[in-house]
Amino acid sequence: MRYLNEYRDPALARTLVRQILQTATRRWVLMEVCGGQTHTIVKQGLDELLAPAVEMIHGPGCPVCVTSLEQIDKALLLAARPDVLFTSFGDMLRVPGSECDLQQIRARGGDVRVVYSPLDALALAIRHPDKQVVFFAVGFETTAPANAMAVWRARELGVGNFSVLVSHVTVPPAMIAILDSPENRVQGFLAAGHVCSVMGWTEYEPIAERYRVPIVVTGFEPVDILEGIALAVRQLEAGRHEVENQYVRAVRRAGTPPARDLVYRVFELADRKWRGVGMIPRSGLALRPEFSDFDAELRFGLGSMEVDEPAECRAGEVLRGTLKPFQCPAFGGRCTPERPLGAPMVSSEGACAAYYNYGRHRAAIAPES
């Protein structure tokens, strides 16, 4: 596909690897925010190839991983109801709640369906007026415009049997929380490209300034990631700390304003608990009061819940970047993709799953250079 496959060209990638290795005079610590970027890095062995020049710490950019245990448990409660047709993106199906997951609810008779787009969920609601269709609205700012439109259209078309269970999170507060942490070692960031396609990059300018860290808006293909890292390393070597855009083909400084606008007409900032990290103030999106009719938590009377994480799961430290997955004592033993303790082992974007699925052999094989 055009504007995609060219950015997988091994020759271009090799050039960028060489450039990074030549430019770096010391080993820099960078964080890629987005799970899709983690996926590419580990899948292509980029961290292996860049090891002398860069240490990549994987950030909490996996909305699946950071959806709080409470929200998962609420989803499971709803999905188990006989009057509910529960719809979700595929990512959420195997994320463990306190007792089980959505796939198990489906096996026990719950009507749980994977959809590609929130508009598909709305279409199901229109087609099944006898059922309550609930959509699990998770994601970062990238997905918020789609979820917002589903709610907006539901109101416009008067679809009374549609509601959403919201678990949206936003990136900048998470970056700030990481930078504020006393254990922080991150010196530069690759910002999430598609989040910025929607939101632009103005929110990152004060962060770069205040914490003196380069932030490079980066895409998702191997050439994009390497170019982003190259730009970040160049800034660090030169002592600069600016917001730079690698992903020029898909990101403008102002983002896509109509999308931003609808997001903030339907949603508002709210405090949000990040699984494994804890409460980050004003880091989530919740439905505005005028759309509360479409809030599944209100419609089905789901109050607040307090749920404890399994003590052994150290997802929080992994998500904050202070622990590498293979340093966790449970990694690969008591915690595997088949029997996960926490979300980063389940989600295909999670750092633990990425390491387990792609990288756990590194001790057994000497990396090629």
Partner: protein, 352 residues
């Protein structure tokens, strides 16, 4: 509240219009006989089946026979490039072929849901007949049951195949050896993506057709070209190439190293995989085989595959190695390596 009249048991007098399967079709009485006579035999009939005995009588060959069974529950029942019927024939006969056996015949058991559209049944049976005929393996015994509406997803088919083994050609999953070349007979991902693209809720319009086909001709070409230099044969169906290679690596206790650039993926298949976030290595194939071949025989084996339309795009995709036994590793275009692991369950479309 209106009084709800219960539907109750259906009227036992059969309706004249038989455009849908009814419970009576499974009763063993006249309706069953009529279904067999009017629907099944016209498609699948042959000298053995037409006798309608309780069992098929087959001549016994000196030596070993191979026998394989599989049950097909695919949904949607019809998909671009085939349907559950053609799949049921190809799938079982291919399992025989992967053992090195020449397919001899098949049995077919059907579970039909009450309300199944007869025209659909006709299309499925016609496909089965065509597939069996193309493979030279008739259906010699069959059975049909009908279950109530809701107890089956339109129809399920079980096929059991019997094949004849040659003593000198016995590929097996535990026979791979370090140094073997790993050959893949064609482009990967078509079957699974044809099904996925047709699923409700996903609904992509894609020029992707299932690749379901009988693989025995390819196996024969390999056998004639390089004989028992073929150590392992496997058709990477459910779980895709990744799962098949992992099973072989584990059974033979060898490592496998794959070359990322060698694998062929049709454009639209790659596009849908990108759109849904799926890895083509895990997508089912029904017209592709993987062969582990003695290194010295790799080139003649490749040439043999390429002589057949199904093997036109055959490639040498990798090597078996002594290192990291049981692990399959992919070498990327950049020189990095990564594991190609088994998945715990199905691949799911993702947004992340």
């Amino acid at each position: 509240m209106a009084v709800i009249v219960s539907a109750g048991p259906s009227c036992p007098v059969p309706l004249v219009a038989t455009d849908r399967i009814q419970l009576g079709h499974g009763s063993g009485g006249k309706m069953s006989a009529a279904l067999l006579r009017d629907r099944f035999l016209p498609h699948l009939g042959n000298a053995v089946l037409n006798q309608l005995g309780d069992a098929a009588v087959l001549p016994v060959h000196g030596g070993d026979i191979a026998m394989s069974t599989d049950t097909f529950v695919v949904s949607p029942v019809e998909f671009p490039g085939g349907n559950i019927g053609s799949l049921a024939v190809h799938g079982t006969l291919n399992d025989l072929a992967m053992m090195g056996a020449r397919p001899l015949c098949l049995t077919a058991g059907f579970v039909l849901e009450e309300g199944l559209d007869m025209a659909l049944l006709d299309r499925v049976l016609a496909s089965m007949a065509a597939a069996a005929s193309a493979a030279g393996a008739p259906v010699v015994s069959g059975d049909t049951k009908v279950v109530e509406r809701g107890k089956a997803d339109q129809l399920y088919i079980n096929t059991t195949g019997i094949g004849v083994l040659r003593p000198e050609f016995r590929p097996a999953p535990d026979k791979a050896r370090p140094g073997d070349a790993v050959l893949v007979s064609g482009p990967i991902g078509s079957h699974g993506m044809a099904i996925m693209a047709a699923r409700e809720g996903i609904a992509f319009e894609a020029a992707i057709e299932s690749d379901a086909a009988t693989l025995f001709p390819l196996v024969e070409l390999l056998r004639k070209a390089v004989g028992d230099s073929v150590h392992v044969l496997r058709d990477p169906t459910r779980g895709g190439l990744a799962s098949a290679l992992n099973e072989i690596a584990a059974a033979s206790q060898v490592g496998v190293v794959l070359d990322d650039g060698a694998l062929q993926v049709p454009g639209p298949v790659a596009s849908v995989c990108d759109l849904l976030g799926l890895d083509v290595m895990y997508v089912a194939n029904e017209g592709v085989l993987v062969a582990f071949v003695e290194a010295s025989a790799a080139q003649p084996a490749l040439a043999a595959l390429r002589r057949h339309p199904l093997g036109r795009s055959a490639v040498i995709a990798g090597t078996a190695v002594a290192a990291h036994p049981g692990l399959v590793v992919l070498r990327t275009g950049l020189g990095g390596t990564r594991i190609v692991d088994m998945l715990p369950g199905d691949q799911l479309p993702r947004i992340c």
